[in-house]
């Protein structure tokens, strides 16, 4: 049987601050479904994985993301990414 579509690669997700607390994990490795192309797609899928995720992403416009340690937007592609991070707006300095 030939594989017409690319098998979803495993992706490391890391969470910080209240996103981490709501999800209840500091990090995890996931295999998002085929067709998960962007950060927005990934968030949509994560929200189906339980109450903690729903709570963490209840206001999607607030949560920030980074792809391989670079700031990303909802439309940013995740193809080939090794690590995606989700976190609240930053409060350093």
């Amino acid at each position: 049987m030939s594989m017409a579509t690319t098998e979803p690669a495993s992706l490391r997700l890391v969470y910080f601050a209240w996103v981490r607390e709501r999800i209840g994990l500091t990090e995890e490795t996931v295999a998002p479904p085929v067709g998960t192309a962007t950060i927005a797609d990934l968030v949509r899928w994560l929200k189906t994985r339980g109450e903690g995720y729903e709570l963490a992403f209840e206001n999607e416009t607030v949560v920030r993301a980074a792809v391989d340690q670079t700031h990303a937007k909802p439309a940013t592609a995740i193809a080939g990414a090794r690590e995606v991070a989700f976190f609240p707006p930053m409060t350093g300095g």
């Binding site: 601050a17 991070a85 930053m90 409060t91 350093g92 300095g93």
Partner: protein, 154 residues
Amino acid sequence: MTPLVRIQREDFDVGAEIAALTSGNPNIGAVVSFAGLCRDESGRLAALELEHYPGMAEAEISRVAQEAAERWPLAGLLAIHRFGLIRPGEQIVLVIAASSHRREAFEAADFLMDYLKTRAPFWKREHLADGTLGGWVEAKADDDDAAQRWEQVS
């Protein structure tokens, strides 16, 4: 000139950092340093806990520092950001910019701090004076506005 960026748990010595950045460069005529300290918010706080994203914290501050180095003629640029539990009166962040003349050093330090606040992956959590754990500090719209003003190309 390659900017120096350090992310560390330990405290830093502002005088020693200025000396290290400027020594051996007699072309430097101006040094601007900014140190951010932990406030107790009128007695309300026992400490701030700073969480960070290891790897990205260094990378992102380095990107901002590199932008500053391209924008102003600098002889030296340093940023140090601490993480972990920091008590009122203790130092959290340090930016030092050195240049031939003062304007560049002032502006580069200001720019670096403004962007560091909105782009560096750090999050502050309050520890309250009564011994309980407080909430996460919310990002301020003021900080976004402060960073935004550098977008207006002069």
